[in-house]
C-alpha cells in the first residue's frame, strides 16, 4: 500500500506535467474563446492593441450556417473513420503475418515501418506528383500499360486517394503496436488450440483478437487524435477542393485565407466540441479496455 508520504510525493511528481499542460491548454483556449466573440479582421486593421469589437455569437452562427460547415464535418469523420478501418484491419493482418517465422524478418519489418518516418508533407508531395499525377505519375503509366485510361486521382477520386495516402502513413504505427502485442501472446495457448483442431479463423477470432483488443484501443485512440487534426496532406494535395475540406481545413481557410480570426476561432471551438464528442464516443465503445 502506498503511504501518505509517497502519496504526496506522487502528487508532487505529477504536478509539473499537469501544470504545463494546463497552461498549454488554458492560455490558447481562453484566447480562442475571447477572439471567437470578437470581430477580428487583421487585414482590416483590427488588432489587440486597437481593441476588438464584441459581436456576441455572430461568429458562431456564421460558422455553422456556412454551406461548407456540415460537409466539412462529414469529410472529417469519413477520413478519420476510413483511415482507422484500413489501418486497424490491415494492421492486424500484417502484424499476424510479420509474427510468423520467415527469412529476413528484420528487413521486412523495416520496410513496413518506414512510411511512419516520412514527414506528412513529403509523403503528400511524393504521392501527389510521382504517383497520382494523371500524366506523369507512376500509377498513370501502370494504368496505360494495362490499356486503361489513367485515373485523375486527386480530382475524381479525391477522398479515396486522400484516405489512401494517410493510411499509408499510419499503417506502420498500427502494425508496430499490434505486432508487439501479438508477440506477447502465449504461443502455447495457440498451439493447444491448434492441436485441438480449432480452425485458423476460430483461433483468430477467439484467441488472437481478444488478446489484441487493448492494443487496438490504443491505436484507435492515438490515431484519432492525430487524424482529427490532419492538415498538411490536404494542403499539399487538393487544397481543400473536390470535397476534401475537413473541419480543421475549413478553420484554416477562415483564419488564414479569409483572414477572419474571430470566425476561425469560433470554428476552433466547434472543432474542440467535435473532437470531444468523438472521444466520448470512442470511450464508450473501447474505453473499458483501458482499465486492463
Amino acid at each position: 500500500m502506498a503511504t501518505q508520504h509517497s502519496r504526496s510525493a506522487a502528487r508532487l511528481m505529477l504536478a509539473p506535467a499537469v501544470i504545463l499542460l494546463l497552461g498549454w491548454m488554458l492560455v490558447p483556449l481562453t484566447m480562442t474563446l475571447f477572439f471567437s466573440f470578437k470581430k477580428y479582421l487583421p487585414m482590416r486593421g483590427d488588432s489587440m492593441a486597437n481593441g476588438l469589437d464584441w459581436v456576441g455569437f455572430a461568429n458562431y452562427t456564421r460558422f455553422v450556417t456556412s454551406s461548407s460547415f456540415w460537409p466539412s464535418v462529414q469529410t472529417t469523420l469519413v477520413i478519420v473513420g476510413g483511415v482507422l478501418i484500413i489501418t486497424v484491419v490491415f494492421g492486424v493482418l500484417l502484424a499476424i503475418l510479420l509474427d510468423q517465422p520467415m527469412w529476413g524478418q528484420g528487413m521486412v519489418r523495416i520496410f513496413v515501418i518506414a512510411p511512419f518516418f516520412v514527414m506528412p508533407t513529403v509523403s503528400a508531395l511524393v504521392w501527389k506528383n510521382m504517383f497520382m499525377d494523371p500524366v506523369n505519375g507512376l500509377l498513370a503509366h501502370l494504368w496505360k500499360f494495362f490499356g486503361a485510361a489513367p485515373v485523375e486521382w486527386l480530382s475524381q477520386a479525391s477522398m479515396p486517394s486522400l484516405i489512401m495516402i494517410v493510411s499509408w502513413q499510419w499503417l506502420p504505427f498500427a502494425t508496430l503496436i499490434l505486432l508487439t502485442a501479438i508477440q506477447s501472446l502465449d504461443s502455447e495457448q495457440l498451439e493447444a488450440a491448434e492441436m485441438d483442431g480449432a480452425p485458423a479463423l476460430k483461433r483468430f477470432w477467439f484467441i488472437i483478437l481478444p488478446h489484441l483488443s487493448r492494443a487496438i484501443t490504443i491505436v484507435i485512440l492515438i490515431q484519432t487524435i492525430f487524424l482529427l487534426a490532419i492538415f498538411a496532406e490536404i494542403f499539399v494535395t487538393t487544397g481543400g477542393a473536390f470535397g476534401t475540406k475537413t473541419l480543421s481545413y475549413l478553420i484554416f481557410q477562415r483564419v488564414l485565407e479569409s483572414q477572419n480570426v474571430g470566425l476561425g476561432s469560433a470554428g476552433g471551438v466547434y472543432a474542440i466540441i467535435l473532437a470531444n464528442i468523438v472521444a466520448l464516443f470512442l470511450m464508450r465503445i473501447v474505453g473499458k479496455n483501458l482499465d486492463a
Binding site: L41, M43, R44, S47, P134, L154, T238, G240, A241, F242
Partner: protein, 436 residues
C-alpha cells in the same frame, strides 16, 4: 557596344555610394521569398550584394501558398520575423493602406524609380506612394507551337479572339499522340485557376462585383465564360486539367503535349530554353484572346519586395531592394546567364535595350503588360482595382472557395449552374460578413 562592359562601371558608382552608408553597421537581413526560378537565381548572387554593402542575407524560401500564409500572419501581428517580404500586387496596396509597409519614396537617384513600368508602379502603390519594388512583372499571353499550327494548315493571329483560339485548339488536338490543343489552368486557388477564369470572364464581359459590391455570378456573362471554358477543355484540354496549375501546364508544354498554352508571360523564357524544353525552337507568341468586347483576357502581376513597418533594419533593407530591383542587377544576370534569363517586366529600360529586344518574347510581353489596366479591368464598371483579383482583404478567401467550386465542375463533379449558384451564395455571405 557590349552592354556587359558597361556593368562594372555602373556598379562601381553604386558601390561607392552604398559603401559610405554601409560602413556604419553591417546587418543581417532576413528575407522571405517565393521559390520561383528568378528568386532562386537571385539567391545565387547574394554574395554580390554582401560584397557591395557588407550586409549579410538569410533567405527563407517557401512555396507560394506557404509563403503567403507565413508573411500574412507575421505582418498582421507585427511579428517582425522578416526584414523584407516578397509579396504580390494583391497584397501591396492593402498592406500599404494599413500602414504596414515602409513607403519606398526616398529611393536613390541612381535607382531611377521612374524607370519602373507605369503599370507595375501603379499596381504596387497606394495613394500614389510606392510600397514595394517589382522584382519581376508579368502579364499573360498565348504561347503556341508554330509547327502544330502550320500542320493544321492554319495561322495564329497576333491578337486572336477566343473563337479563333478554340478553333485552332480543336484542330491541333491529336489524342492518339497525346497532343492536347490547349492547356489552361484549372487548379483550385485564387492565384491559380481562379486567376485564369477571372480574366477569361473579364473578356466575356463578366465582373466579380457590380458598383454596389453585389456578387455577379448570377449574371449570364459568367455562365457564358464558364461554359465556353469547360467545353473547350473537354474537347481540346489535357486529362485531369482540374488539378493543373502553372507548373503542371509548363511541364506538359515543355514535353510537347500542348498545342498552345495561355499563361504568365514569364513562362516564355522557360518554354524557349532548350535545356528544359523539347519544343524550344517551335514556340510562337500572341496576345491573350478577347471576344470583341474590348477587354483581353490578360492579367497583371508582379512579385515585389517590401519592407514591413517596424523593422530595425529599414536602411539595409532598402539597400537590398535597390540592389535586387536595379538595372545593374539585370545586367549582372544578363552577363552571367544571357538576356533571356533576366527578371522581366519591371523596367522600361530593359525593353529599350537592343540586346533584350532580340529575345523572341520581349515585344509580346511588353505589349501584354501595356494592354493590362488594373484600374479599369472589365467591360462594365466595377468598384474595385485589380484584373485577376479584387484588391480587398476578403478576396483571397472568397476566390479560393469559388475556384474550388469551379474546379469541381472541371472534374465533372457538378454542373456549371450549380457551381455558379454556390459561388454566388458563398460570395454574398462572405461579403456580408465583411460588412459590405
Amino acid at each position: 557596344m557590349n552592354p556587359t562592359r558597361l556593368a562594372p562601371r555602373l556598379t562601381l558608382g553604386a558601390c561607392a555610394l552604398l559603401a559610405s552608408t554601409a560602413l556604419a553597421s553591417a546587418e543581417t537581413l532576413t528575407i522571405a521569398t517565393v521559390n520561383n526560378g528568378d528568386m532562386i537565381r537571385m539567391q545565387g548572387y547574394t554574395d554580390d550584394f554582401t560584397a557591395k554593402t557588407g550586409h549579410e542575407v538569410e533567405w527563407v524560401t517557401l512555396e507560394e501558398n506557404v509563403l503567403r500564409q507565413r508573411v500574412t500572419t507575421d505582418i498582421s501581428t507585427k511579428g517582425g520575423a522578416f526584414d523584407i517580404m516578397t509579396i504580390g500586387m494583391y497584397e501591396t496596396p492593402i498592406w500599404g493602406a494599413n500602414g504596414w509597409l515602409v513607403p519606398l519614396d526616398d529611393l536613390s537617384a541612381e535607382y531611377d524609380v521612374d524607370d519602373i513600368l507605369p503599370a507595375m508602379r501603379d499596381g504596387l502603390s497606394h495613394d500614389g506612394t510606392l510600397y514595394a519594388a517589382p522584382f519581376y512583372g508579368e502579364s499573360s499571353m498565348v504561347m503556341y507551337r508554330t509547327d502544330l499550327v502550320e500542320a493544321a494548315g492554319m495561322t495564329m493571329p497576333e491578337a486572336p479572339t477566343w473563337d479563333q483560339i478554340a478553333e485552332l485548339a480543336r484542330a491541333m488536338t491529336d489524342r492518339e499522340n497525346e497532343i492536347n490543343g490547349i492547356c489552361l489552368r484549372g487548379k483550385a486557388g485564387w492565384g491559380e485557376g481562379g486567376a485564369f477564369i477571372t480574366v477569361t470572364a473579364n473578356s466575356f464581359g463578366a465582373r466579380w462585383f457590380d458598383e454596389n459590391w453585389r456578387a455577379q455570378f448570377d449574371q449570364p456573362e459568367w455562365a457564358n465564360a464558364l461554359n465556353f471554358f469547360v467545353d473547350l477543355m473537354a474537347d481540346a484540354g489535357p486529362p485531369g486539367y482540374a488539378t493543373n496549375g502553372f507548373n503542371e501546364n509548363l511541364s506538359l508544354f515543355q514535353q510537347g503535349k500542348c498545342g498552345m498554352w495561355i499563361d504568365a508571360t514569364v513562362a516564355a523564357s522557360f518554354v524557349t530554353n532548350p535545356n528544359d524544353s523539347t519544343v524550344a525552337d517551335k514556340v510562337g507568341f500572341a496576345l491573350a484572346p478577347d471576344t470583341g468586347l474590348g477587354k483581353r483576357s490578360n492579367w497583371l502581376w508582379a512579385w515585389a519586395l517590401a519592407i514591413p513597418a517596424g523593422t530595425q533594419k529599414a536602411d539595409a533593407a532598402k539597400q537590398f531592394i535597390e540592389w535586387a530591383t536595379s538595372k545593374e542587377y539585370i545586367e549582372l544576370v544578363a552577363s552571367k546567364e544571357g538576356w533571356a534569363n533576366v527578371p522581366p517586366g519591371a523596367r522600361t529600360s530593359l525593353y529599350e535595350n537592343p540586346e533584350y529586344q532580340k529575345v523572341p518574347f520581349a515585344q509580346k510581353t511588353l505589349e501584354s503588360i501595356k494592354a493590362a489596366d488594373p484600374t479599369n479591368p472589365t467591360v462594365m464598371p466595377v468598384p474595385y482595382v485589380g484584373i485577376q483579383f479584387v484588391a480587398i482583404p476578403e478576396f483571397a478567401g472568397i476566390a479560393t472557395e469559388v475556384s474550388q467550386e469551379f474546379s469541381a465542375v472541371y472534374a465533372g463533379q457538378q454542373t456549371v449552374d450549380e457551381a455558379l449558384a454556390k459561388a454566388q451564395a458563398l460570395t454574398t455571405d462572405a461579403m456580408e460578413a465583411a460588412g459590405y
